[in-house]
């Protein structure tokens, strides 16, 4: 297990060698791990204090000034509170601002609903020019941050508080805008992002003796890899999407937008069903309550196969 925020803090020190990179945080640098960058490059680190609108608007200013501005805070505050700054400046003017958030969704179990972003992907995905990335583990985080820094334009990268199972080693190659088949199969496809990728792999393992399951890690939710989705729909004929987010407007919706117009396919959605979060001691126990488990994915897989056969 390794938290994606830890991977972020470490790789940021490396990427910070590029002098165009500045990092800005909103009194969360210890938690987001941007404190590691702050220690190494104090003159290129800025703290706005408890002021998220200012976080994003100032980051926009740095980008207008020619910098690659990386803005970090907790997911819920860096998006819900700042949506207009993101929309009207960062995205509208296609600025080189990378919004890298931590403590997303239920990975921030103990803090409860006020701190659990279950709507952020929907809010960011709807904005033109915005790239939305949800890495599945520490290795993918490291590479995704690098790709976001290289990409010219705004990016949103969604990271975790709690540790995530390690899926990839350094042989993995993250490509912005591309999904990856992490397990091949031909009867049904599970398309997942973030922590749900390891849950999807578990589900595929449980079903191994009865169903041939393809698992796709669709870490770039926008721009979405249409090709891999259409191919999965054509070759397997049934899809389950799995995300740690509301089922409204997130990864599942993005997949359905593609299949419905290209190749109508039965889909089952695993995600939080139009509810707020709550405090839990562990993320896993919240996953149980909200149905974000391998067994929930297994059941959804069986359901979608029944619909496929009809």
């Amino acid at each position: 297990m390794k938290s994606t925020r830890d991977a972020y803090g470490e790789c940021l020190v490396e990427y910070g060698k590029d002098e165009r990179v500045i990092v800005i945080d909103a009194d969360t640098s210890t938690s987001t791990r941007t404190n590691m960058f702050a220690k190494k490059y104090p003159n290129r680190f800025f703290n706005v204090g408890c002021a998220e609108q200012n976080l994003i608007a100032t980051a926009a200013g740095f980008a207008y000034g020619g910098k690659i501005a990386i803005a970090s805070a907790f997911a819920v505050f860096a998006t819900a509170r700042t949506w207009e700054q993101i929309r009207s400046f960062v995205a509208h003017d296609n600025l080189n601002v990378k919004i890298v958030v931590t403590h997303s969704a239920l990975t921030n179990a103990p803090d409860g609903e006020s701190h659990q972003s279950l709507e952020d992907i929907a809010m960011l995905r709807v904005i033109p020019n915005m790239t939305v990335i949800v890495p599945a583990d520490a290795e993918e985080t490291k590479q995704a941050i690098g790709a976001a820094i290289k990409h010219k334009g705004p990016c949103y990268v969604r990271l975790n508080r709690a540790g995530s199972p390690v899926i990839f080693d350094s042989s993995y190659e993250f490509k912005l805008g591309k999904g990856a088949v992490v397990k091949d199969g031909d009867e049904v496809t599970i398309i997942a992002a973030g922590n749900m990728v390891s849950k999807a792999l578990e589900a595929a393992e449980i079903l191994a003796n009865e169903i041939s399951v393809r698992v796709i890690n669709l870490s770039t939710i926008k721009p979405i890899d249409e090709e891999i989705v259409i191919k999965a729909a054509r070759e397997t004929g049934a899809i389950v999407t799995a995300e740690e987010h509301s089922i409204i407007g997130g990864l599942g919706s993005a997949v359905a937008e593609i299949t419905s117009t290209n190749i109508p396919t039965p889909i089952e959605f695993i995600g939080v069903k139009d509810k707020f979060g709550q405090t839990g001691v562990t993320t896993e126990e919240l996953y149980e309550i909200y149905g974000l488990t391998a067994s929930a994915i297994v059941e959804a897989t069986r359901r979608v196969l029944l619909r496929k056969k009809r």
């Binding site: 002021a51 200013g61 207008y64 000034g65």
Partner: protein, 289 residues
């Protein structure tokens, strides 16, 4: 102190910009003449005297930057940029027309030369100016950043977040100007949501604060010169201005915040503006005696 000749040149520019504002907003049929007329003298002082910039090379890395936070005053900015030579004056007729580079509020994507950022949503310019000013410091460039705020938009929380930030990071290559015309859409600022004591608020936030008659171009350019010398803290000029300045029946009238003149009223306004301009020229001569 400007020479009398120089002052007259600048006053003429401001007169021309005010004419453009009236003509282009009437031609468009919508827009914000009141707050465009109020800030015309400030823009003239910046673009024709204070700022280092090159209309033939709008992306010159060392240029001083101007950020219009009160984006609805863009008719004045467009007119100023055209007068400065950033694009042809005839293009001002395109304001708010379909496909125009002169969008209803400034739009960076339309690539109108001289526009530094999109604006229109209030309260954002100061934070953006902070980021640009700090970028300049990191790059060891000595450009300055000027940002024009509306007084009404000082009711936005983000202005004060950015105010704290600028003082904390000692952003002394930044000068903010508040267009203190005291009127917002729903009425006088002090009736809608009190801003006073505005200067004290900025002082309390750690800023170097100056208060001037913002229609006196001499005062404006002197204030800008002074703020260049202030080290270790940001500067703000509270410019007391008159909404609708230059047209007697538009002055102090809140309805001209977002209402344009009919073609008949435009003719009346242009005649009125000319009379006012001529009397201002005479007054400037008297002031010299």
């Amino acid at each position: 102190m400007l020479s009398n000749e120089r002052l007259k040149e600048l006053m003429e520019k401001a007169y021309r910009i005010r004419r453009h504002v009236l003509e282009m907003t009437t031609s468009a049929g919508t827009g914000h003449p009141g707050g465009s007329l109020s800030c015309a003298d400030i823009l003239v002082a910046l673009y024709f005297h204070t700022m280092q910039h090159d209309p033939k090379n709008p992306n010159w890395p060392d240029r001083d930057r101007f950020i219009l936070s009160k984006g609805h005053a863009c008719p004045a900015l467009y007119a100023t940029l055209a007068e400065a030579g950033y694009f042809p004056i005839e293009e001002l007729e395109d304001l708010r027309k379909l496909g125009s580079r002169l969008q209803g509020h400034p739009d960076l994507n339309r690539r109108l030369p001289g526009i530094e950022n999109s604006s229109g949503s209030l309260g954002h310019g100061l934070a953006i100016a902070n980021g640009i000013a700090l970028s300049g410091k990191l790059d060891k460039r000595d450009y300055r950043v000027y940002v024009l705020l509306g007084d009404g938009e000082c009711q936005e929380g983000l202005i004060w977040e950015a105010a704290m930030f600028a003082a904390h990071y000692k952003i002394d290559n930044l000068t903010a100007i508040v267009d203190r015309n005291s009127l917002q859409i729903d009425g006088p600022t002090e009736k809608v949501m009190s801003l006073e004591p505005l200067a004290d608020k900025w002082r309390a936030f750690g800023w170097n604060v100056m208060e001037i008659d913002g229609h006196d171009i001499n005062f404006i350019v002197n204030a800008f010169e002074e703020t260049k010398c202030v080290k270790g803290r940001p500067s703000i000029i509270i410019a007391y201005l008159i909404k609708g300045r230059g047209v007697s029946f538009m002055e102090w009238m809140r309805e001209y915040h977002g209402k344009t003149l009919s073609p008949e009223d435009l003719n009346r306004a242009l005649a009125d503006l000319e009379t006012w301009y001529k009397s201002e020229l005479v007054k400037s001569e008297v002031g010299k005696c």
